[in-house]
């Protein structure tokens, strides 16, 4: 089974482009109703299915996401 992972979203940088949503294999991400100070609806983690694959972070144009994964 995949290892467990987690992410940190720097919501002030997020522009709500949803590219990370597409990239996540486990539908961990969604777009919030709230906006950040730039007026963007930002990405949020909606479950704990993250496996720390970093796909979301790798495709994020704004380098918003930091990824962690439990060590073997």
């Amino acid at each position: 089974m995949a290892r467990k992972g987690d992410i940190v979203i720097d919501i002030e940088r997020c522009k709500g482009c949803e590219v990370c949503l597409e990239a996540c294999p486990n539908q961990v991400l969604a777009i919030s109703n709230a906006v950040n100070s730039k007026g963007y609806h930002y990405a949020v983690k909606v479950n704990s299915n993250c496996i720390g694959c970093a796909n979301c972070a790798v495709v994020c144009p704004d380098a918003v996401i930091t990824v962690y994964r439990e060590k073997k």
Binding site: D6, V19, V59, C60, P61, T66, V67, Y68, R69
Partner: protein, 253 residues
Amino acid sequence: MADSLIDPGNLVYKRTDVLNDRIMHYCPGCGHGTAHRMLAEAIDELGIQSETIGVAPVGCSVLAYYYLNVDMSEAAHGRAPAVATGIKRVFPEKYVFTYQGDGDLAAIGTAETIHACNRGENILIVFINNGIYGMTGGQMAPTTLEGMKSSTSPRGRDISSMGNPLKMTELVAQLPGTYFVTRHSVHTPANVRKTKRALKKALEYQKLNKGTCFVEIVANCPSGWKMTPVQSNKWMEQNMFPFYPLGDIKVPE
């Protein structure tokens, strides 16, 4: 519980220090950001930050110097390869790259691009092909596809009056001065990773003094294309890649 994972020991991905922490001005979902990051990571991983000098001409990425944490020169529209030549010729030991849009590289800068490649300047040219003039508000670029709409081809590009979309990358691959010519994208994790590998390779080759390395990145421009970022990536796969197929075009033997 999950919180316990957030610990430096478990870190698998964070933004590279070769990007500073300014918020980029790009539109949501724009490929420029990802391309910047890959270039920054490549520089980071090669440990050449202090020996790298970049050139970004006008285009949406004109402010690349504001985000990439390396010494950089802004260049006039289309002239980045000439500016980079000037830099590389006085600093042959440094790593020099340009970061150019398709309007820049393939329209006004055609001569500079062809001749830098033909001279085999030992530089890396990063070519962001989003099929449009992003910065100026979505006009037709030399790379705009047949039938594709833009603010200056509102009924779609009409080849007979506006000419053909130009495959600059295939052209420069013909020139003996180029050493490594390849085409990538940054719209999926796998493609992003491939792009980084290509950029790293291209920078490494610069040490060999074998000629110009040319990395095209086919990218989206959600604003110019008038689509959401996710739509634009789909559209890119369906329309751009058939005409601009991804993959290596010229590789060192």
